[in-house]
């Protein structure tokens, strides 16, 4: 009887251990996280517009008034510049690392002149950029990323149907390109 009790206690301790191991290790191998799903969309350095219907990787826009575009990047070699301009009632940007932790976020009220102009760079690249800031980056917001890979999400809101076209155009014309200094 005592041995059965001991077996149950050992089993429960094992269950707790297993629970902790699964919870702590799950984020590294689900294959369902946002970064993996965005990578499955294809090219880096290009904004992919999401629709209300889930794509192959399962990404969709749940909110009926939101328009969303995502761009995955790797700034290991060169910095990345995000740009977008247009007349929309609201836009916002969030930059995440490959573990989907937020690094930086902003919206149109916190931008310079209402347009989106952000440079994403590693600490070393940023030091080099700041030493001799190129003319065209005078108005840009410089964001330092601790790890070179991640993704950016740009959202716009179309409160009425008549804004849909402007919101789509804003996202379609948004660029997510390597910044080589020219």
């Amino acid at each position: 009887m005592l041995k059965i009790l001991l077996a149950i206690v050992v089993g429960l301790v094992g269950a707790v251990l297993l629970h902790l191991i699964i919870i702590l290790s799950l984020p590294h191998f689900t294959g369902l996280d946002a970064y993996t799903r965005i990578l499955a969309r294809g090219d880096l350095n290009r904004f992919h517009l999401l629709s209300a219907k889930p794509d192959k990787a399962g990404l969709s826009v749940a909110d009926p008034f939101m328009h969303v575009a995502v761009c995955s990047f790797d700034v290991d070699a060169v910095p990345l510049r995000l740009q977008a301009r247009g007349s929309v009632p609201f836009w916002s940007l969030a930059i995440f690392d490959s573990a989907s932790n937020e690094i930086f976020s902003m919206n149109d009220r916190t931008s310079v002149g209402g347009g989106l102009d952000v440079v994403i760079a590693t600490p070393i690249q940023l030091t080099a950029l700041r030493k001799a800031l190129p003319e065209q980056l005078a108005q840009s917001i410089l964001v330092e990323v601790p790890r070179p890979d991640g993704y950016a999400v740009v959202r716009t809101l179309a409160p009425r149907r008549s804004f849909d076209q402007a919101a789509q155009a804003f996202l379609q014309e948004a660029s997510c390109q390597d910044f080589t200094g020219r």
């Binding site: 094992g14 629970h19 702590l24 984020p27 909110d63 609201f90 999400v153 809101l157 009425r160």
Partner: protein, 196 residues
């Protein structure tokens, strides 16, 4: 003579069965710790950050949703009414009051996973701060029902399925605020069930 293998099998089955079932339960039932609860509404302002707890990180790695950044907004969801009853599409509900300070907000109904219902495209898919009709004191009342309603109407699918309301505040100080207790969210009250 099979006592020892039997005991080992018992311990192992409890360990693996209990471990796996408890993990799945924990991940399905909640998004993690650190929720703000205001009446029926709950939100997770830190779920997208590196400071999120391990449960929140596991949950978001499995769900794969694009979460709102701090400066973007904060999404509140409600799957129960203020009295604690589960929201079902066979009943009608009133969402009334004010939202916390935000530049814009959107409200829509979706399934328990948060995906919006495929309603008739001629019907409103949701409401937002620009389209909602307000009282003179700028408060609003939205009737959530499967049957057409006067005023602000948020359609539900027919039948008797569970649903979830999502209220997203955009560009809101709520996301970064620590004085969250004073915030008032709209009340979610049951109006009646069936044809009543």
């Amino acid at each position: 003579m099979f006592r020892v293998p039997l005991l080992i099998a018992l311990a192992l089955s409890i360990a693996f069965g209990g471990g796996i079932v408890s993990t799945l339960y924990a991940l399905n039932v909640t998004t993690g710790f650190g929720a703000i609860r205001l009446g029926a509404w709950e939100a997770f302002p830190n779920a997208q950050t590196a400071a999120a707890d391990p449960y929140a990180k596991s949950h978001r790695a499995r769900a794969g949703n694009l979460l709102y950044g701090n400066a973007e907004g904060l999404a509140f969801s409600a799957s129960v009414d203020d009295a604690g009853g589960r929201l079902v599409s066979g009943c009608s509900y009133a969402v009334s009051g004010q939202t916390p300070h935000a530049r814009l907000w959107t409200l829509y109904a979706g399934n328990t996973g948060g995906q919006p219902f495929a309603v008739n495209p001629a019907l409103p898919a949701g409401l937002n701060s620009w389209t909602v009709v307000r009282e003179t004191d700028s408060s609003f009342t939205v009737t959530v029902s499967a049957r057409a309603q006067p005023g602000n109407w948020l359609p539900l699918p027919t039948g008797n399925v569970s649903f979830r309301l999502t209220l997203t505040l955009l560009d809101t100080p709520t996301a970064g605020s620590s004085g969250l207790i004073d915030l008032s969210m709209p009340k979610v009250s049951l109006l009646g069930c069936g044809d009543a």
